[in-house]
């Protein structure tokens, strides 16, 4: 782990475990935007983790960004911090000056029609990669005067629609046209990895406090084994998400979706979306009826997981994408692609 990674993990854990508790999340769901928390993340420079130091950023890599984004999932942070991290990176790639304040990614855009924009009403601008005449461009849309039809996901996180886009700045990038959608899927897989950890931590804690039949729940072998299954799922999500972020560092976007970071991202989001049923079901089962109440904090995690699994492509979408990769490569080449995945050719050929 790099020094930046470990420093970031520490400060993210400290900040969010201190600020984002049950009362905070209940209050935030009633009132909307957590302005003060956003300011605190800004002071730490978290949204600029991927921006070069000479441009005033942290100069970290994607492995560093993973620690922050996973933390956003683990603590159910009600902010578009993951989206802003990716947006700032995209803008940096396109030589567009990033505006101050929260940004977001636009999952899909047809003309000026865009649906389910995460945190649209709170973001100062949103961006996406698009096909351009000579390749791909990053489009940064100013949200100042945009009127959103407000919707939310299951966790009451804003997912807003609009039919009229604002002024846009455009810059060309050397990325595939669907890069922003893939990166959206990658951050959601990291957030689900974090939320899985929270669902496990809560279940471990609760099973040690609640007593039935004269003993704590964690003394029952059935409960122990369900906790083990939950831990195994959480571990697998940490592994594949970290792998996708590392592949972003080592390989990134190249010419072929079957062999570049898109393969790893598709695997990460497919696995993450697939696991959501299990991790939520196990943690809820261990919590019993209390975990089904609004008063208990468990739902702040499970409701996020239930929505995040579908955002930027759900199980079906990503399993189909991976199926295309597998059938496209065929039985002769698939294994070679799996073992080559994540290897930086530049470092292995010297």
């Amino acid at each position: 782990m790099s020094d930046i990674s470990s420093m970031l993990e520490d400060s993210v854990t400290r900040l969010f475990s201190d600020k984002v508790d049950r009362e905070f999340l209940q209050e935030q769901e009633r009132t909307g935007w957590a302005a003060e928390l956003w300011e605190l993340t800004d002071e730490l420079g978290l949204s600029s983790v991927l921006v070069k130091e000479e441009s005033g950023g942290v100069g970290g890599d994607w492995a560093d960004a993973y620690e922050i984004i996973k933390g956003c999932g683990r603590f159910a942070v009600p902010l578009p911090l993951p989206e802003t991290i990716v947006a700032r990176w995209l803008l940096d790639q396109a030589n567009i000056t990033a505006p101050e304040g929260p940004l977001t990614l636009i999952p899909s855009m047809e003309g000026s029609d865009a649906k389910r924009i995460p945190w649209g009403r709170n973001a100062v601008a949103g961006c996406a990669t698009q096909s351009a005449v000579s390749g791909t461009s990053v489009r940064l849309v100013d949200f100042t005067d945009v009127v959103f039809a407000e919707e939310t996901n299951l966790a009451k996180e804003p997912r807003d629609n609009c039919t009229t886009m604002g002024q846009a700045a455009v810059g060309e990038v050397d990325l595939p046209e669907d890069a922003s959608f893939y990166l959206g899927a990658m951050i959601r897989s990291a957030q689900i990895s974090g939320v899985a950890m929270a669902l496990l931590e809560q279940a471990v804690m609760y099973s040690g406090e609640r007593s039935q039949f004269g003993r704590n729940l964690n003394k029952f072998q059935t409960v122990q084994h369900n906790l083990a299954r939950l831990a195994t799922a959480a571990a697998s999500l940490d592994s594949i998400s970290r792998f996708a972020f590392a592949t972003m560092d080592n390989v990134g976007f190249k010419d072929d979706a079957k062999t570049d970071v898109r393969f790893a991202i598709a695997a990460a989001k497919s696995r993450a979306s697939e696991c959501v049923d299990l991790i939520c079901a196990l943690s809820h089962q261990i919590h019993g009826a209390i975990g089904f109440t609004y008063e208990h904090s468990l739902h702040f995690y499970s409701r996020r997981a239930w929505s995040w699994r579908s955002e930027f492509g759900g199980s079906s979408y990503w399993a189909n994408t991976l199926g295309d990769i597998a059938l496209g490569l065929g039985s002769e080449k698939l294994w070679g692609a799996i073992t080559a995945l994540g290897i930086n050719e530049a470092t292995t050929t010297d």
Partner: protein, 388 residues
């Protein structure tokens, strides 16, 4: 206590720079060697044994790669071995003859064996000449291994061994067994007082190996009976009465390797071939889900191997890989049934996919038994979470 987040952390494993050259060499070798093997034979992978094949691997320098050079090894890390292991498994090479020796007996002897044991055994392991078996389970001790009763008693002539080992894989082929026996009958708790011995199965009077037919009809595991079997004093491996800890130290590598998710690799390959021929795209989603799980498991297994190479304690992570890997392997035959209308069929003239499906459907129950049952594994995970 370590936080749960740190316990479940799987950093991406990094293969060394020379790994891809090695991988290509192994692929080139297998492309030639595996031509004669039918899909059904490949499906056995590490359940299949062929001494001639193992000797060829040895001649290439691909056995005992982690062992010191002075004993015929290559002095490389576990990561180079990982590359060779996953390539041979994916191709369905018959690696069973050398598998246990290469994976754990060799490294264990190198770590705790006497100079004589190392000099006698390690070079032969590296050449693929000798097969090892591991004597653990007994008629009355399966998952409750610490309750084992077979005993070794020190006499002037050597250690006198009595008792029965059961389900001993490859004992009928093996020159040696590394067995766990009770050496202190009064020791408490019950896992104290156990010791490991290297037993010459071919040349020790009083040792009887009886193959047991498994449900597929083949004989690969055995009952090994010891009746006043006398082994020399220097058959003791490591420290007397320290066997339980020694056995534990082998488990991380035993449980986290690529064999924990590639046992059904040949089935996946045959499935893809059938879909390629028919042009059927309707199973794309199921194929994609299999691939996601495969890539996830490989990332986990590689992460553990990298940490093992750095000398970290990865006992828990290894258990997690094995638990998830067994679940993945066991579900594959059923998924294939959902995708393709095919009947499992072992007849000689059946389609390769039907044959492979037939074999792996029947082998699948063993995946969550060998190397620790899923119940034992989940108990270990729970304990590490602090909830037992």
């Amino acid at each position: 206590m370590e936080s749960i987040v740190d316990l479940l952390r799987f950093d991406p494993g990094q293969l060394p720079a020379n790994a891809e050259k090695l991988r290509q060499d192994v692929r080139d070798f297998l492309a030639v060697e595996m031509k004669q093997y039918s899909a059904l034979k490949r499906a056995y992978t590490w359940d299949g044994a062929d001494q001639a094949f193992s000797e060829k691997m040895g001649a290439k320098g691909w056995l005992g790669m982690t062992l010191p050079k002075e004993y015929g090894g290559a002095g490389l890390s576990n990561l180079e071995r990982y590359v060779v292991a996953e390539e041979t498994l994916f191709a369905g090479a018959p690696v069973g003859f050398h598998w246990i020796a290469d994976r754990q007996s060799g490294p264990l002897i190198a770590r705790i064996g006497t100079e004589k044991q190392k000099a006698e055994l390690l070079p032969r392991i590296c050449r693929g000449e000798i097969c090892f078996s591991i004597g653990m389970s007994e008629p009355n001790s399966g998952s409750d291994l610490a309750s084992l009763q077979s005993k070794a008693v020190r006499t002037d002539e050597g250690w006198l061994i009595n008792g029965t080992k059961l389900w001993t894989t490859n004992a009928h082929l093996a020159s040696y067994m590394i067995g766990l026996f009770r050496t202190d009958l009064d020791a408490q708790p019950k896992h104290a007082g156990l010791s490991q011995f290297i037993i010459d199965l071919k040349n020790t009077p009083g040792v009887t190996v009886r193959p047991i037919e498994d449900l597929t009809g083949r004989k690969h595991f055995n009952e090994v009976v010891f009746e006043d079997a006398l082994v020399p004093h220097d058959a003791l491996l490591g420290t007397e009465n320290d066997g339980w800890r020694q056995v534990g130290s082998e488990l991380a590598i035993e449980r986290s390797g690529p064999e924990r998710f590639l046992s059904c690799a040949v089935l996946f390959t045959e499935l893809l071939k059938v879909l390629e021929r028919s042009g059927d795209q309707s199973a794309k989603r199921e194929i994609g889900t299999i691939l996601a799980n495969l890539v996830t498991l490989r990332s986990m297994s590689l992460s553990v191997s990298d940490k093992l190479a750095q000398g970290d304690d990865v006992a828990l992570q290894a258990v997690i890989v094995k638990d998830l890997g067994a679940e993945f392997e066991q579900t594959l035959p059923g998924i294939v049934q959902k995708i393709v209308a095919i009947e499992p069929n072992l007849s000689d003239d059946a389609e390769p996919l039907a044959q492979v499906l037939a074999l792996l459907t029947m082998l699948a129950p063993s995946f969550s038994l060998r190397g620790g049952t899923v119940e034992i594994l989940r108990g270990i995970i729970a304990k590490r979470l602090g909830v037992s």
